[in-house]
Symmetry: D2
Subunit: 110 residues, 4 copies
């Protein structure tokens, strides 16, 4: 993960793009890419989307995570660390016995 | 990255959630989380958002990447691999000499 | 508004598209269009976006509302009515004296 | 539609909110609301969503269109007009004979 992060930062820096990368515009960009990812599934079942659009799905999914790396860098936070911390939080929110096989949100769990 | 992936898959599997995780609903979920991330910047400058909402920004950013891991797993693709491939593609789309210090999209580069 | 609604429904029906227009895919479509609208503001101030992208902003904004009409039709609800009802709800959530000149969400108002 | 527009503008103005309503933040807000609308369909079929979440779907759909009105006002454009113009554009993009019963995008139509 560190290696990918480094590649992405280098890609940005040799193009002198850091000047544009304020957190707000990066969050906007990530949201736009998430919409482009979703567009592959518009009017389609998962199976139809995968059959006809897998290459684009992979590209857009990658773009989302690339923006996640860029945003974490702009915020000065470690992406691996915050994911690890969030998993810990989710483990408390979703105790196995209550959430097993359930689609409920944590605030709807009895 | 493999270790995080494993933690996330395990989190899913001990809760028996794989049954819900079709790619279309995962792409929807990722897009929803991207919106929740963006909500932290609504009516705010980057600085104001970071000052008042950094903890939530970190949580939502982590959620986005957690869904990216889950979607890559549901698709049977390697997340590191597709990011690496996309960086290579972006390097061709954005040659350094043409894109240096420029905000233009690749299809607008002269 | 009824006249626009009628035009949109007619546009859909002469193309035999109602068969695709389940509420879930319409909500997905509306969200995708909202992302395309937002893309016009990526890396730009409001002023820069308006100067260089106003035509596209108008098109994408229209697409969002067209999908809102289509979704309301698929749900069997009256779009004017639900907007009117929501304004009434918002008036209660945001009493003038508490929300005057404030960016706070209703659940943050003291 | 003019009457709704007026109600929404009045709601904004008696709260002195126009100062916050720059087009970029309004486009962000519209996109966030579109995500909240979509959240009602997460992990659900259209039927399940309607059965359990119709009230919230109506509220979020209304919020999307309220932001569309606010954005059109901030841009100084007439919402009815741009929708009408877009329908005309769509009629050219999607000729009936080519698009009848087809899910294809206009740029994929033969």
């Amino acid at each position: 993960m560190k290696q990918l992060q480094q590649l992405i930062i280098e890609f940005r820096d040799v193009r002198n793009w850091k000047q544009f990368h304020n957190p707000k515009d990066l969050a906007i960009s990530l949201s736009i890419e998430a919409g482009e990812l979703l567009e592959n599934f518009q009017w389609k079942s998962s199976e139809e989307a995968i059959e006809s659009r897998l290459e684009n799905i992979k590209d857009e999914l990658a773009d989302v995570v690339i923006y996640a790396f860029l945003l974490s860098d702009a915020l000065g936070v470690d992406l691996e660390r915050i994911i690890f911390d969030k998993i810990k939080k989710n483990e408390k929110r979703y105790p196995i016995e209550k959430s097993f096989g359930s689609k409920k949100k944590y605030n709807e769990l009895g």
